[in-house]
Symmetry: C2
Subunit: 191 residues, 2 copies
DNA sequence: ACGCCACCATACACAAGTGTATGTTGATAT
DNA sequence: ATATCAACATACACTTGTGTATGGTGGCGT
């Protein structure tokens, strides 16, 4: 029982399927859902189409698997924060605003989400996933603002603005001198 | 000199070129820049590729023309608001927030801008256009907040949040009970 | 009335992508 | 050792899209 060989590791029923999905997210970030094509993906992975059609029924199946995976990741990201009740709500909000947004890693995640939001304009499943994640995030932020003493109606408004600022920080292209995202925490959380 | 016939109206050196670009924006909103293809466009317009390659050198030329057109429209939209100094700055900000964002017209515009922002992830020209428009809008909002008496630094932060809220209102999928966008004006503009 | 030219159609060669059917290989269990 | 099966390669038929070359047509000026 060795886990050396790149194929056949006995455990994990989907070991290379994840590799396909990862590469698919890469293409999604670069060119949208229409750019997630079988042939380019296979070339990027160094295999042929034969491999793909063993793991997935067709191209649409990959797209749905991507949606499920994104939903899972985004849900887990919020869920793990809810569990780890380490600090006060205002501190946690500030920490969220302090998260890096210029690293290749975060830029890729933003591009993926942007692509999914565009995809949601025509695909009902994608729209459902986006709506679900938006709801989860807004609910989480609203709860934090609620724990800070704000009424529910006020907490919801502030959660929306907080979420909006996070998204804009990723989507809006600012040059250095207009980049005021660094010290938005005070305006949003403190007063 | 009759302007009856659908082709050859003597005036306007580009009368049908605009039709191509309009249809191209339609496809851009639905499937991103990769979906802006010559053949589907021709079928939608009821003509053949022969027409396209008379108006444009190639597919890339259309893409660049679209970028130029979007830049022109977005600039004009802000420019016209600057000209019409009709009301007080806080009133004008509230009016902007009161603009419809659920009509087919506004949804399409949001989808177009979303697609261009995704496109800007890989295309340098698209990134330049987005950066330019973002800068123009942020500058305009910051000036309005400045006219309300805020210091420049504070006005810039508030302009960013204002702009972020506008964008999120278009990109975030909310259900009715979490839709708090209607009365965000007070929180942003008044206090 | 007639030639000019903007505007579009037709035809062709080529490239890229999809899906299916089937062959091949290497690890694993017995 | 060998049958087995997961995992991939190969080959094929088909569709869709790009770009070019060239032919057709109808309005316009003179």
């Amino acid at each position: 029982m060795s886990t050396a060989s790149p194929r056949r590791t006995a455990a994990s029923p989907s070991l290379d399927t994840a590799a396909w999905i990862d590469a698919a997210f890469e293409m999604l970030a670069e060119g949208g859902i229409d750019a997630v094509r079988v042939d380019p993906l296979a070339k990027r992975l160094g295999v042929t189409r034969g491999s793909f059609y063993w793991h997935f029924k067709d191209r649409e199946a990959l797209h749905q698997a991507m949606l499920k995976e994104w939903r899972k990741r985004a849900s887990y990201q919020i869920g793990s924060r809810i569990e780890s009740r380490t600090s006060a709500p205002d501190e946690r909000l500030k920490q969220t605003l302090a998260l890096p947004n210029s690293t290749p890693r975060s830029k890729r995640a933003a591009a993926i989400e942007l692509a999914i939001r565009l995809w949601a304009q025509r695909d009902a499943n994608a729209a459902k996933a986006v709506q679900h994640i938006d709801r989860v995030r807004l609910k989480y932020y609203a709860q934090l603002f609620g724990e800070m003493g704000l009424a529910q109606s006020e907490a919801r408004k502030r959660a929306f603005m907080f979420y909006a600022t996070l998204l804009a920080r990723a989507y809006v292209i600012t040059d250095a001198d207009t980049d005021v995202s660094a010290d938005l925490a005070a305006l949003l959380v403190d007063p």
